[in-house]
Subunit: 263 residues, 2 copies
């Protein structure tokens, strides 16, 4: 199975330009699974709830159509971040699409910094989607720092963690090695690059998108300051066997949950 | 506050020699907290349950006396691994001692490899001990790969994770950076060096003991093949504030436990 990410430099509020950048980066790409960054179509640094409302979309609108197009063109499943509307509520979400079908939508559980002002926190537990024979779990950016998220996805059988991101802190890439080892899963962190300055807020996005194997090997690592297409070939079945020796199984051996012994 | 570890090369079954090595390494050491490796007095590679029974001790016996002596000599709290007997049951445990007092005993929850044949799994949740004004949590070696352990200790207020180890896998040191960042705690991994070959079992212990800060900085790192004394000065109060920006708190922001939303 071939998996891939694109590392982009979105321009704030310029959906059409951002779609075009994605098409340019993927113009010859054929792949089974493609991950795009968080909020790839809109940019990140919102300044008001009105802005997120204005740029937000219901499933089935413009960004959905673009992702369906992209899935058809690349031939693979696509996971990408977008501003989701549900009634008057706005979520920082990621959509998983295969051909013309919306497989599911994940709403970011752990909002970072002022996202708490512009978005509502995800209102559903993380979920694993079985698509074309592979179990895919989604988390978004800052979710990485909470081990509960990847763990929950692994306990549900995720083989690959799709991780659209807009990272500004330095520790995620190394932490994803730990996440993959402790859960025996693959992960694809699709980050963005560039700087966004709006009002008093300035964010420098760190690039270095990364594909990590179940054994913690870094299969692809992007530069910190360039757009990039990262590709790796993996065997997703490696994520199904959690035994690390004849005596230890990474999930079955768990003894505690919260502060309580679970056996 | 000064914290320290010693990285030793225990000889299997030679308690007196192993005590002497510890005394040699610590002969001029004064410190507030000192961590020794897992099973520092006995060595690691047991070959039968009879052997663990033979070398095991009830609290208050030989190894306890040695740790009380060491606490008095160094002036600090001591945490060290030992083979614990309780009735006919044998645990891979770690004792925390201050002067002549046994503060507590932690029984390893996640047994590695054939430890499952020689030891019983810990039967109590991990616990935080408040000693001389600082909250200390204990975990042992392979517990590192289960994020639930450090998390549980952090949720109980641990400022410092004492981590006696006999590591043979390569990923723990980097994972401890993630553990410290995701929980905003300090950690002290006291590992051993050397090879033990008994029957068909051969373990190469990897050294590289490590003190890690709440921000993921490596404050001390030992070589992979030499005995070593590692020391760092820390401010344990840095572990009490879990806010990483005005909007995010690493513990209060948690949304899921297991697969369930917790708010």
């Amino acid at each position: 199975m071939q998996i891939a990410y694109i590392q982009t430099f979105p321009l704030f509020g310029e959906k059409e330009m951002n779609f075009r950048e994605v098409l340019n980066l993927t113009c010859t790409l054929k792949t089974d699974l493609l991950i795009l960054p968080e909020l790839f179509a809109t940019g990140y640094t919102f300044a008001s709830k009105e802005e997120t409302t204005e740029m937000g979309e219901f499933p089935g609108e413009e960004t959905t159509h673009f992702l369906q197009l992209l899935s058809g063109k690349t031939g693979g499943i696509v996971v990408a971040g977008f501003v989701e509307k549900e009634g008057d509520t706005i979520y920082n979400s990621a959509m998983i699409v295969a051909d013309s079908e919306i497989i599911g939508i994940y709403r970011k559980l752990h909002l970072f910094n002022k996202e708490k002002l512009w978005f509502s926190p995800g209102n559903k537990p993380p979920k694993v989607y079985r698509v074309r024979g592979v179990n895919i779990g989604i988390m978004i950016c800052f979710d990485w720092i909470f081990p509960e998220v990847t763990r929950s996805l692994a306990l549900q059988g995720a083989q690959i963690i799709a991780h659209p991101s807009n990272l500004v802190m330095p520790h995620c890439q190394a932490a994803m090695v730990t996440r993959c080892i402790e859960n025996r899963v693959f992960s694809i962190t699709a980050n963005r690059i560039g700087t966004e300055k709006r009002g008093e807020d300035e964010f420098i996005f760190t690039g270095m998108s990364q594909i990590t194997s179940t054994r913690g090997e870094i299969l692809s690592s992007a530069p910190g300051d360039k757009t990039y297409v990262g590709i790796a070939r993996i065997d997703p079945f490696q994520a199904l066997n959690k035994k690390i020796n004849p005596y230890n199984d990474l999930l079955a051996d768990r003894r505690i949950q919260g502060n309580l012994l679970i056996d």
